[in-house]
């Protein structure tokens, strides 16, 4: 049985239950129970209509729970007395779920967890494994998020930008356990793109595809980080690059530029170069100018300094860097790289060591330590 296919159905089924009168929390719980049942039953007895099967089982689970709860009896009677509504537009319901799970009253971490469960159809255990926390912790995070949402109306129009930020957070977390969060984020963003006509959804989807395409080349066999310039471009997944380029071009053609499209355009220019030397750094700098204009993000300015260093030489890069706050994450790493290119290995080695101390992950720390060691080694002999 295809788990992704099953998970694709989850948000629509939750939507149907809510449309029939279930509250979001109960609907979400009932659909989770139905999914667990499906995993058990479907391999031996595949249904002809998987979605219909899930709706029926989830609805019965919901009614069972409501029935068991004496306080809810009156509402149950009311629900059972009502005629079943006819077919509903599942697409709208699903879209509402994306917005609800990314509601501004939730913290980003809660939005991410709830989106993976309610929209993504992952189990609490899978989400807990992916984020390396105990299962009860993740269960608490999800149920708190659902409690926070209990007073929120389901039919409020949502903010696409918030949904995209949540999906990008999922993508950026890397992955562990048996769920690949990057692939999951791509699946959800594709899904969103099929329901909504928005240039930035295309921008984000393209950005994810282009980064995902490079993943096999980003780490060596021993788990080492391989920087972009040293990656074996033969290992990049060309079909994802082709799709990403096509998606970003279609988005850009709509003339509604946003930050994800600008980032995707940069990623596309990297992906387009067959060798490092063929990289079109001049155009990349222009896109970073757009990105800085759109976001005024210090991280975008830092990346721009790297691109300027490649396009106009390390001195120009260092000049761009001098205008930025040295406390920025990875500032020292960029400075180290530019100083080395400028022919100052002593300063570069010192800065690599400094950068390693504040690296956010072990693989990045190890990479930066190795860079420092490489520069220090010849001078020690």
């Amino acid at each position: 049985m295809n788990g992704a296919l099953l998970r694709d159905l989850v948000p629509a089924v939750i939507g149907v239950l809510v449309r029939r009168g279930a509250d979001f929390t109960s609907a979400e719980d009932a659909v989770q129970d139905a999914v667990v049942e499906a995993v058990r039953v479907w391999p031996d007895d595949p249904p002809r209509d998987p979605k219909g099967w899930l709706v029926t089982v989830a609805w019965h689970k919901f009614l069972d729970t409501a029935r068991a709860d004496a306080c809810r009896r009156r509402r149950e009677v009311r629900l059972e007395g009502e005629p079943m509504p006819g077919p509903v537009a599942a697409v709208d319901d699903t879209l509402q779920l994306y917005f609800l799970c990314a509601h501004p009253c939730l913290t980003p971490a809660s939005s991410v967890a709830l989106t993976l469960r309610a929209v993504g159809g992952l189990t609490t255990r899978q989400i807990a494994q992916a984020y390396l926390v105990p299962e009860p912790t993740m269960a608490q995070r999800i149920s708190r998020a659902k409690r926070t949402l209990s007073g929120v109306r389901f039919d409020q129009p949502g903010d696409v930008a918030t949904v995209l930020r949540v999906l990008y957070l999922v993508f950026n977390e890397g992955y562990s356990g048996d769920v690949d969060l990057a692939a999951e984020a791509i699946r959800l963003t594709r899904h969103l793109a099929s329901m909504i006509n928005h240039a930035e959804v295309g921008g984000l989807l393209a950005l994810m595809l282009l980064h995902h395409a490079r993943r096999p080349a980003r780490t060596g066999p021993d788990g080492r980080l391989v920087p972009l310039a040293e990656q074996d471009r033969g290992r990049w997944r060309s079909h994802l690059i082709a799709e990403g380029v096509q998606v970003v071009q279609a988005a850009l053609a709509r003339d509604r530029l946003g930050e994800f499209q600008a980032q995707a355009a940069i990623a596309a220019l990297h992906a387009d170069a067959r060798t490092v030397d063929e990289t079109d750094w001049v155009q990349i700098v222009e896109w970073y100018d757009e990105l800085v204009r759109l976001t005024d993000s210090p991280v975008a300015r830092l990346n721009r300094a790297v691109a300027v260093g490649e396009a106009d030489g390390p001195r120009a890069g260092l000049a761009a860097l001098a205008e930025l706050d040295p406390a920025l994450p990875r500032h020292a790493a960029v400075a180290a790289y530019l100083h080395e290119r400028d022919g100052d290995p002593v300063a570069a080695a010192r800065l690599y060591t400094e950068a390693a101390r504040s690296a956010p992950s072990r693989s990045e720390r190890d990479h930066l330590t190795r860079q420092a060691a490489r520069l220090n080694a010849p001078r020690q002999t």
Partner: protein
């Protein structure tokens, strides 16, 4: 979200704000109140979805060192009381550094003799994260 280690020391760290007597000189009620505070603190972390791990370490233990091929490792015997011992740790998964510091501050206010906060020093250390999918 990011994970942080809250490290409790028996000794070491900056000069104590309050030099209170060791716990075996407290009244049983004071000890109970302290233990209840710790247990409530853990429960609150579980309820807020920020709990990862809590361990209390026994004071026994030893330093171990490789002493060359084919030779047994060198140990320095049981710890003596004057060494800086780690009493235990909490690992939390929280939204920000500020939240980690806030929780450590609350933990430092665990009640001691007379029900007054013990002002214990706690070391707060970020754990390395999962490498981000996008870095270059």
């Amino acid at each position: 979200m990011a994970k942080y280690l809250l490290l409790k020391h028996y000794r070491g760290g900056p000069a104590p704000a309050v030099d209170c007597a060791p716990m075996d000189r407290w009244t049983p009620d004071e000890v109970d109140a302290h233990m209840r505070f710790m247990s409530d603190f853990a429960t609150r972390l579980e309820e807020s979805g920020e709990f990862v791990d809590i361990q209390a370490l026994a004071p026994d233990g030893t330093f171990v060192r490789y002493d060359g091929e084919g030779r047994p490792p060198v140990t320095d015997g049981p710890f003596v009381e004057t060494k800086d011992l780690i009493a235990g740790w909490y690992i939390i998964d929280v939204e920000s550094w500020d939240r980690a510091v806030q929780l450590a501050g609350e933990l430092s206010a665990a009640p001691g003799p007379g029900g007054k906060p013990i002002y214990e020093w706690l070391e707060v250390r970020p754990c390395y994260g999962i490498p981000a999918a996008v870095t270059e």
